[in-house]
């Protein structure tokens, strides 16, 4: 019973991580562009700005994360099902004896 309660845990964790990173539909990313507007002439932003882009190394979850969570859940379901079958079979064999 306790084992069965653990089955949806990978999906919950994966979905949580995915949503926390913005629920992006794109793939995993390993860096993030940090944009900052810098005045072209210091202290005179009225003359215009330039966008400074700094690439920061950071893992960002993509669509693979919830998919992986679902796959792990199915794998756990299969393992639980097979274990249950094996257990039932062993009980049957013991009963026949």
């Amino acid at each position: 019973m306790f084992n069965q309660l653990l089955i949806p845990v990978p999906v919950i964790i994966a979905s949580f991580l995915w949503v926390m990173d913005g629920a992006r539909l794109s793939f995993w990313a390993t860096s993030k562009a940090i944009k900052e507007e810098i005045p072209i002439v210091a202290g005179m932003p009225e003359l215009g700005t330039q966008t400074k882009i700094t690439w920061e190394d950071q893992f960002i979850h993509g669509i693979e994360t919830p998919i992986l969570g679902v796959l792990i859940m199915f794998a756990l379901l299969l393992v639980t099902y097979l274990q249950k079958k094996k257990f039932e079979k062993s009980i049957q064999i013991d009963g026949n004896k």
Partner: protein, 200 residues
Amino acid sequence: MNLFRFTCLLLPCFIFAETKSFDFKDSKGLNTVIFQLDALLESINGSASGVSGKIDFDPDDPAVTKGVIVLESSSLRVDNPVLQEHMHGDDWLDVTKFPKIEFSLSNLTRLKVQGRSIHASAEGKMTIRNVTIKMSIPVELTYLEGMLEKRNRISGDLLIVRSKFSVKRDDFGIRAGEYLDKVANNIEISINLAGVFPSK
């Protein structure tokens, strides 16, 4: 007599008219090209920082502005390393074989002055993957006389070049006609570059 007067009036303009060669290799590292293209799951956003090149600009005659802006193709960056590898790879930009993306500006047309800025159409040739195409790009030039000192602590002028335009990857043979359902044909490009002209 009138012609003589006219010539006398114009002569100083020709004598003092100076074409300034602005260098776009920015020591501050702020010269960036931003690109965006639609993809199947989400748009692909990236930037490129390897900008260099020179533009000859005459504040008294901006129409004759000419020069070259070069972008190192290996400096193109996106957030996904696999995507970046593909983008730099043989099938797409082939950055080892074609290390430079170049826009050669021949002149400006349809000039319109708005405050400090000049809005114009930059006529020139774009070269990507060794494919050169004649292009007309809308640009905004802002000439800031004597403002280099406030930016780089050396006396001189600044020329700001801003533009938003798009190129089609089909035109430059970047997997022409392929994967159009996954990666859009149109690549939106946005530039905001500062060129420097240090006074001697």
